[in-house]
Subunit: 390 residues, 2 copies
C-alpha cells in the first residue's frame, strides 16, 4: 500500500473474505481447508462439494484441476456469482482452480499450496473417523526452516526439518534421519502443508508406534552451478526405467544436504540410521539416490511412483543381482500406490511378483480408494514410518 | 491428480512456468521474486517493471494493488498476452494483482504472500547496494514452526520462532525474546517471507550489532473460544486512540503464547528480557499489549502505525503520567514510519513533540523513500533490533 492505509476500515472486510461468502441456510459447512471466514467451498453431509466464484463479467466459468475428472461448467447466478455442486469426490486432498474464460484462477476462499509449479488452490476432504494426520493433544515436534549454501548449485537452499518432541530437552540424544521428497511441481513445503507429515509423526510417536526420528524435506530441483535452464535433476528414462543415473539433485543430497544435516542436528550419521522416501517424482529420486548410494542409505520408500521391473541381473547397477546381499544391506524396500491409480497398481503387482521371485525382501502397500494425491501419501507415511529404524 | 499422472511429461512444462515466459531480447531481467524460470515480471536497469499475463478472451486487464497508485490498463498483444511497463516504483516489496474483467487474479509468474486476507502476488525490488535483508555467507538461525493449543481460543495455533545461530550448540545459554507482529490481512508468515526477519537478524548477529535473541511471530487474530464471527482482536478506537483496552489476542499472548514460549525455549523469562513490536495493525497491538502489561514487557517498537498522542495525564491508562517512572520502567519506546507515509509522518512528528515535552524517553525512526510496505518494516527491524536488550 503506497499511502498511509486506513487499516482499521479494511480489516472487517478482509476478515469476512469478501469474495467468498454466501448462504448458510442449508446443512453444508465450509471446508476445513478454507481461509478464515470464507464460506465457500462448502461440504454437504453426503460429501457433495459446492464451489462459488464471483466473476461478474465472465462468459464461461469452470471448476477444474484434480478435484474433478474433467472441467465442470459452473452456472451464473445473482450478483455475478458462479456456482456448482459436484458429487462427493474421494476423501483426501485435491488441487483445483477455476477456469474463467480460459484463464486459470485460484479460489479466493481456499488457501494455496505449491503444486503444478505455482501456488494452487487445494481442498481437504477428510474421511469420517480417519484422523491420524490432524493435530491432537499430544506433544508436538517442530518444523524448522534451515537455510544452507549448496556448493553444487552455488545457491542458498532451504530444507524443512521435523524434529521430534523432546529433541531440545534430550540434549544428548541422537536420532535417525528420514529424507522425504515431494512430487513434480511441488516443493519443500509440500510434506508439511499438504501432507501434514509433522502431525502424522507426532501422533505415531505419542503412541510409541515409530522411533523418534528427524525428517528432512528439501526441494527436489537443482541447477548445476552456472546453468539456469531446466533443472538437471530429472531422472532419466522415465518412472520405471531400470537405469540408475546421476543427477544434480543427487549431488545436492549427497554432497551438501546430508553433511549439513549431520553437522547441524544430533543425527546418527550412518547408513543404518538413514532412510530416503518420496512420492511420485520424489519416489524416483529416492530410488535413484538410495540405490546409487547404499553406503549412505539402508531404508527406502517409494510412494506412488517408482517400481522395480526389467532385468534384475543387468538393471539398477546390479544391486538386485544377489538377493542375499541385497537383503543384508537394505533393511526396508517399501513400494506403495493408491488403489485408484490403475496404471501404478499394475506396476506394483508386477514389481511385487518380480521381487518375490528373485527373493528380494520388500513390503507393498496400497491406499484404499485414493488416487495420485496427498491423502495417499499421508497414509503411505503413516504406514512407512513405523517400519523404519526398527 | 485423480489417475496415475505421467509426471515425466508434465515436468518440463511446469519448470518453464508456462504462462509466464516471454522475450529475453532486451536489457530487462526477471524480478528476483519470480517463481523458478518465470520470465515475467521483468525489471529494467532504470527500474521500470514490465508485467505480462496471457488472458486470451479478456476484454480488459489492469495491473492493480500496492505496486501502483491506481490501476493501470494493460495492452493486448500477440497470443492473448496483456502487457504493461510501469515507471520505476519505489524500491521495496509491493503486493499486486491483475484485474481481469473485474476479477482479481494473481500473477502466475510471482509467488504469493499472505496479505489482504488471502494469498496475494508480491514483487521485491531491491535498492542498489542495500542488502542487509538478503541471505549471506554468515551463520544462519532457524525459523521453527511451533504448534500450541490456545486455551483462550480453544484451538491449535502456530507460532514462527526464530532461534539465533548457535542456539542448539550453546545448550545452556538463555535468550531474550522479541514478540513481533504482522499487519492487517497478513499472518504469522509475513515477517519471514515478506520481511526476511531471519536474514536481517543473521546479518546483524554476524556483525555483533545485536544481542542474540529469540523472535516470536504469531498470527494477530484470535476468536474467543465458542465464537466464530469476527475476531475480537481488533484494537478499539482506531490506530491513534489513547484508550487501552483488552482483546482476545492479548489473552492469547499473555495467557497462552508467552507461557508456551518460556516453557519450550531457553528464554530469559522476565520483563527486562521481553520486547514487543509490530507493524501497522501489529504496532497498535504491540502498544496495547505492552503498555497494559508492563510487568511483562519493557521494550516496545511501533512500526508505521500507532503513535502517542492526546492527553498523557488521562490517556493510556496513565502510564505516561509520571515521566520519571515511565523512563525507569520502559527501556525503549521506539516509534517509526516510512517517509512516504504523509499522514503517519505528521502523527510521528506530533508524537515526538508530545513525548519530548513530557520528558518521556523515546526513539523515532523514518525509512527514507518508502511507504506502507515491507521494505519500510525490514528497515525498522534492522534499526530496532540493535537497540533492544542492550
Amino acid at each position: 500500500m503506497r499511502a498511509g492505509v486506513r487499516w482499521h476500515l479494511l480489516l472487517p472486510i478482509l476478515m469476512l473474505g469478501a469474495s467468498a461468502f454466501g448462504q448458510d441456510a442449508d446443512d453444508s459447512k465450509p471446508a476445513i481447508s478454507n481461509l478464515m471466514n470464507a464460506k465457500h467451498p462448502r461440504v454437504y453431509p453426503d460429501g457433495r462439494v459446492a464451489f462459488r466464484l464471483v466473476a461478474t463479467n465472465a462468459a464461461k466459468v469452470q471448476l477444474a484441476g484434480a478435484i474433478t475428472d474433467k472441467p465442470v461448467d459452473m452456472t451464473k447466478g445473482e450478483g455475478g456469482a458462479w456456482t456448482v455442486t459436484i458429487p462427493a469426490p474421494p476423501a483426501g486432498f485435491h488441487y483445483y482452480w477455476f477456469t474463467v474464460d480460459g484463464l486459470q484462477v485460484n479460489d479466493p476462499g481456499s488457501d494455496t499450496y505449491f503444486g503444478y509449479g505455482r501456488p494452487t488452490s487445494g481442498i481437504d476432504l477428510p474421511k469420517q473417523g480417519e484422523d491420524f494426520y490432524f493435530p491432537k493433544d499430544v506433544p508436538h515436534g517442530q518444523v524448522r526452516m534451515q537455510w544452507y549454501f549448496s556448493r553444487t548449485t552455488s545457491a542458498w537452499r532451504r530444507a524443512m526439518v521435523y524434529t521430534p518432541p523432546g529433541y531440545d530437552e534430550n540434549s544428548e540424544a541422537r536420532y535417525p534421519v528420514l529424507y522425504l521428497q515431494h512430487g513434480a511441481g511441488e516443493d519443500e513445503t509440500g510434506w508439511t502443508r499438504q501432507g501434514h507429515a509433522n502431525f502424522i509423526m507426532d501422533n505415531l510417536l505419542a503412541r510409541k508406534e515409530a522411533k523418534p526420528m528427524i525428517v528432512v524435506m528439501d526441494k527436489g530441483y537443482a541447477y548445476q552451478a552456472g546453468t539456469n535452464t531446466a533443472p538437471t535433476n530429472r531422472p532419466s528414462g522415465g518412472m520405471n526405467s531400470s537405469v540408475l543415473s546421476p543427477s544434480t539433485f543427487e549431488s545436492v543430497v549427497i554432497d551438501d544436504l546430508i553433511p549439513m544435516i549431520d553437522r547441524t542436528f544430533r543425527t546418527l550419521p550412518d547408513r543404518k540410521h538413514r532412510a530416503m522416501a518420496g512420492l511420485s517424482m520424489g519416489s524416483r529420486q529416492a530410488m535413484q539416490i538410495a540405490l546409487r548410494n547404499l553406503d549412505k542409505f539402508s531404508w527406502i520408500g517409494l510412494f506412488s511412483g517408482a517400481t522395480v521391473n526389467g532385468d534384475l541381473d543387468t538393471g539398477y547397477n546390479g544391486v538386485f543381482k544377489n538377493a542375499k546381499e541385497f537383503n543384508e544391506r537394505v533393511h526396508l524396500l517399501y513400494v506403495g500406490v493408491g488403489a485408484a491409480e490403475p496404471r501404478l497398481m499394475d506396476a506394483l503387482k508386477s514389481s511385487d511378483d518380480l521381487l518375490t521371485k528373485r527373493g528380494i525382501n520388500h513390503v507393498t502397500f496400497t491406499s484404499e480408494g485414493t488416487a495420485h494425491e496427498w491423502h495417499s501419501w499421508r497414509r503411505h507415511l503413516h504406514d512407512f514410518a513405523p517400519r523404519v529404524f526398527q
